[in-house]
Amino acid sequence: MIEKLADYVNNNHALVRQGRFINYSILVGVGETDFIIRIDGGRVTGVRHRQLNIDSGRFAIRAPTEIWEEFWRPMPKRGHHDLFSMMAAGLAQIDGDLLPFMQNLQYFKDLLGALRPASIGN
């Protein structure tokens, strides 16, 4: 599902504008599979499986597959509806350099939430 991220993000002009200063990669772990997501000027320019152990991103967000599936449902259960709520409930974790994440917090919440049908909050 996350492979389709560019389609959902790049057509959302407000989201791209919000992330216009972002030019780096992040790592998103879906279960045992790590994805490297490249962002340039707020646009997703690449989503690929992590090939090498030295492939990484500025920070990594990981959650079990079933947690992401619930997060991407149209109306997620409580605790699954938001990245921070998932972390508060111990369902997801973040590692790495948190500064770029905090500098663009709502962007990254909305970036990953963009895969949800009829995204919350739009």
Binding site: F84, S85, G121
Partner: protein, 282 residues
């Protein structure tokens, strides 16, 4: 004739901890005084829907003020020399000073989040001064789930990160219009103010060891919390209710941490019966 909302905003001065504070207060309606306390890092605008609801304002004089440092209330003179940090003592003194300066007789106090927490402290210490207390998203024990240092530093926009922190506290069902209005207020907070409030909310305000002493026969306690609240969770609300004998607790389905501002129509369904019960009993 312009069709104004019934809300009237004014300024009043009061002394808190030796400082004369210029406070902004809004009110509407007449009847039993209902003092509304906003959440950490926001201001009294959160209560605007209650003040335009005749079902409430026909029976209650609804008052909401901006805490010092928040909204249109000033920080104390010399604020640049101070690191703002809300303590339990300072918060209690502020609410007590407001009720005194406004000459309110046995008001109902309703607060949300940190406001929901301080009303429990007030019920414990001054049970005969309040007709009842209503804790929205208020518990006697909470656990932090993020580092508040991120809220006030030069390389992160304070307003945007504050809104980003709390955006997940709004239920996914809540109308987009009110979700973003609630977050807009967070984006407008002064530097370090949300962080300073969270000192009370997450560090200084615990009193689960004493909440059991609250006498609900002298001061009725109502606890209303949202299903999607990640900090004052339904579980923490129920734990608090178990410790406060005689309190009444409701978990609001499909609601988050900001009931009065994120989903006014749904909140109305929960708060009207509470206000009616308080009104009847008094």
């Amino acid at each position: 004739m312009p069709s104004f909302e019934p809300i009237v905003g004014r300024y009043i001065s009061m002394v808190v901890a030796g400082d004369t504070m210029r406070i902004y207060v809004e009110e509407a309606g007449s009847g039993i005084p209902l003092v509304c306390l906003h959440t950490a890092g926001s201001d009294s605008r959160q209560f605007r829907h209650l003040m335009t609801d005749p079902s409430i304002t026909d029976h209650y004089r609804v008052l909401a003020f901006d805490m010092p440092w928040h909204g249109k209330s000033n920080p104390p003179i010399g604020w640049r020399e101070i690191e703002y940090k809300l303590t339990t003592g300072l918060y209690k003194e502020t609410v007590v000073a407001f009720c005194q300066v406004m000459e309110l007789n046995q008001p109902v106090i309703m607060g949300c989040s940190m406001g929901g927490r301080i009303v429990l402290h007030l019920a414990l210490e001054y049970p005969d001064d309040y007709r009842a207390v209503i804790a929205l998203e208020g518990a006697d024990r909470l656990e932090p789930y993020y580092d508040t240092e991120w809220l006030h530093r030069p390389d992160v926009n304070g307003g945007e990160v504050a809104a980003g922190f709390v955006s997940g506290q709004i239920a996914p069902q809540s109308p987009s219009e009110y979700r973003w209005e609630t977050l807009w207020a967070y984006m407008q907070g002064g530097p370090g103010v949300f962080k300073g409030d969270l000192y009370f909310y997450w560090v200084d305000g615990h009193f689960d060891d004493r909440s059991v002493q609250i006498d609900t026969t002298r001061c009725p306690v109502y606890l209303l919390s949202g299903e999607y609240d990640s900090s004052c969770t339904p579980e923490r609300t129920r734990d608090t209710a178990e410790r406060i004998k005689g309190s009444k607790a409701v978990v609001m389905k499909g609601m988050g941490h900001f009931p009065m501002s994120e989903n006014p129509a749904l909140f109305r369904e929960h708060i009207l019966p509470v206000l009616k019960e308080i009104g009847v009993n008094n």
